[in-house]
């Protein structure tokens, strides 16, 4: 099971992305709508991929990466583009391949 955290400030888009991820066998999506929510998730659980969606600033993304370093996790953090399913699967496949 690949656990994927979507960090996205736009709730409708985050929900759409999660629905698309959950359609794939062995993939499970969690949603964080803010940096703080993302940090809570990352301290509670290890994820296989973290997707950075819309509305998340570079500053917040950098803070998240620093915390992941502290947690000593090699979870790939990838920027999600497009908002829907067009690029989503390639982004996750690529990240999972890097993580292998």
């Amino acid at each position: 099971m690949a656990n994927i955290l979507i960090v996205c400030a736009n709730q409708p888009i985050a929900t759409t992305i999660a629905r698309l991820i959950d359609k794939i066998d062995d993939w499970h999506a969690s949603i964080a709508l803010s940096l703080n929510h993302a940090l809570e998730n990352c301290y509670a659980k290890t994820f296989d991929v973290i997707l950075i969606g819309s509305g998340i600033s570079q500053e917040h993304e950098d803070i998240l990466r620093l915390h992941l370093e502290k947690l000593n996790t090699k979870t790939p953090v990838v920027k999600h583009y497009g908002g829907g399913g067009g690029l989503l699967y390639a982004e996750i496949y690529q990240a999972l391949e890097r993580n292998d």
Binding site: N10, G86, L87
Partner: protein
């Protein structure tokens, strides 16, 4: 992919090229939608074909009459649609309702997020269009929409339909990209000069066949060239093509 030397007066630059023939594209058939993907998209995943520089999506879509894409989201992407035949009716969460038809170009900067739908308003005849996505040079911008009519009469010249500049010809996007359409009579030759160092060009042939620096490129083939300042296009037949110049690193 191949390498070749391009001679200039000042220096020799090693141009790099890649040819994607039409029959090697990803294909999806959803009944109402037939789509050919030059790069990985949706269920088509080819790690060798993820993008060409900032050009991420080039979909060659065929939508049957009266059908279309229901409301769906986009974010952080420059989305360009070029109808080739027929029309598409567009509605989005910005309040835009518009119909775009052959001879026009539409651009949407998705930025922080926008929902839209696209339908073929003609109940009987299909719509054919190119859907092109370019990575933006700025994330989380305010979403915007624009469409314009493009010059469909000029022949044997490059006609600019997109640039990074709001006051330049064509639509504009958040990226150092330039798109040109060429409609060449057979045997016409023109040199395309790239606008910016570090940019490459991906040429997609819509009709006929051309040669790019001697390489044959047929209908619906895609040809990428970079690490060069210019290249020469010769129409082998009457031909129509789209040149998408984009940053190779972004």
């Amino acid at each position: 992919m191949c390498l070749k030397f391009v001679a200039t007066k000042e220096k020799k630059i090693m141009a790099q090229t890649v040819l994607h023939t039409a029959n090697t594209r990803g294909a999806a058939d959803h009944g109402w939608l037939k789509s050919f993907h030059s790069f990985s998209f949706a269920g088509y995943y080819n790690p060798e074909r993820i993008h060409f520089g900032a050009l991420r999506v080039l979909n060659d879509d065929f939508v049957t009459g009266g059908m279309g894409f229901g409301e769906h989201p986009h974010d952080n992407m420059e989305i360009i649609s070029i109808p080739l035949e027929g029309a598409l009716q567009h509605k989005d969460s910005l309040g835009t309702t518009a119909t775009i038809k052959s001879g026009e170009i539409q651009v949407m900067s998705a930025g922080t997020g926008v929902y839209h739908s696209e339908y073929n308003p003609d109940a009987t005849n299909p719509a054919k269009f190119l859907q092109i996505w370019v990575f933006p040079n700025k994330r989380n911008v305010e979403p915007r929409y624009d469409q314009i009519t493009i010059d469909a009469t000029t022949r044997n010249e490059f006609v600019q339909v997109l640039s990074p500049n709001a006051n330049d010809a064509g639509v504009w996007i958040y990226q150092d990209a330039w798109f040109n359409i060429g409609r060449f009579d057979a045997a016409t030759t023109k040199t395309y000069n790239l606008h910016k160092t570090g940019n490459g060009a991906y040429i997609f042939v819509l009709k006929g066949s051309i040669k790019i620096d001697g390489q044959n490129v047929g209908t619906r083939d895609g040809f990428g060239i970079w690490d060069t300042e210019k290249f020469e296009i010769t129409a082998s037949t009457d031909a129509e093509f789209l040149i998408m110049e984009v940053p190779m690193e972004f």
